[in-house]
């Protein structure tokens, strides 16, 4: 039940964002600071979501060569930088994860 509520809430906020400006009358102007602030949202939020998956173990910083998720993440970042393709980045990261897991 709580999952359905979660889905309904996600759908409501997502649709509200998508409709936000489109439902306004044509005469309304977008405030410049809002427009500029929104530009940084994807990079900041997405990084805040993936960084802990690489760097934390049980909520504690795990900065070591034994951290195969960190090593695989570094490989994925390099692959994303070089090829800019989602499928290549994911394949490289998963292969690297298994490789480092086997190596360590």
């Amino acid at each position: 039940m709580s999952l359905w509520l979660t889905i309904a809430g996600m759908a409501a906020v997502t649709y509200a964002l998508r409709a936000s400006f489109l439902v306004l009358p044509p005469s309304v102007e977008t405030p410049p600071l809002l427009r500029r602030g929104l530009r940084y949202v994807p990079a900041a939020v997405l990084t805040a979501i993936w960084a802990p998956e690489l760097l934390l173990q049980d909520r504690v910083l795990f900065l070591a060569l034994e951290n195969e998720r960190l090593l695989a993440g570094a490989v994925a970042i390099a692959a994303a930088w070089r090829w800019r393709l989602t499928s290549v980045t994911i394949a490289a990261g998963l292969l690297a994860l298994h490789f480092f897991d086997w190596l360590i």
Partner: protein
Amino acid sequence: MVLDRPALAAGARGAAPVLLGIVPFGVITGVAMVASGIPPLEAMAMSVIVFAGASMMACAQLLSQGTPALLIVLATLFINLRFMMYSASLRLHLAHLPLGWRLLVAYLQADNVYGLTLSHFSDRNLSLSEKLGYFLGAGVPIWLAWQAAVLGGVVIGAGVPASWRLEFAGPLAFIAMTIPLLRDRAMVAAALAAGLVVIATAALPLRLNVMIAAVVGIAVGLILERKRTV
């Protein structure tokens, strides 16, 4: 509003190569949702009514960490804030459509559709019905391909062994989405600041660190951008 058939066809032609990139991400999203414990029916319902891959992937990740529903909805709000930008920018072209069409355009908004549409609009002088036709011609096939891909992932996902560690595809997909965004110093600084803050505040309850990191990241981006322009 009469739909413009050549414009619909042009949109579909524009979308064709993009479909190749959507399918793997849709499949991975479906797999990640099921791997994190979301039942197949709920996963498909989310795909149809939320229709936003990054937030669905985040929801799967947050659910598996036991995050409360309210914070998942808040995280969705932050992750999908970019749709407000798309909404604002599409409005410059489609503000004069009847409200019903604008509500449909809002639902079909996605990164790929937005990118395709705006680049098509930029160097052409199109009528309102041609613009709507192109958007729908691109948006509807992309929507269909996405739903089919998620369904494929949900079906495969149910039978994938845990030792394959496919749940790591979630953070990897976010890395793939983040890196191409880092095209200037302010953007790199915003991402780095968010990454540092999210780790430094990891001890906070309820994953509040993600929200704090996002706000600090945005602020750092704005400050650096201002310094350079002044």
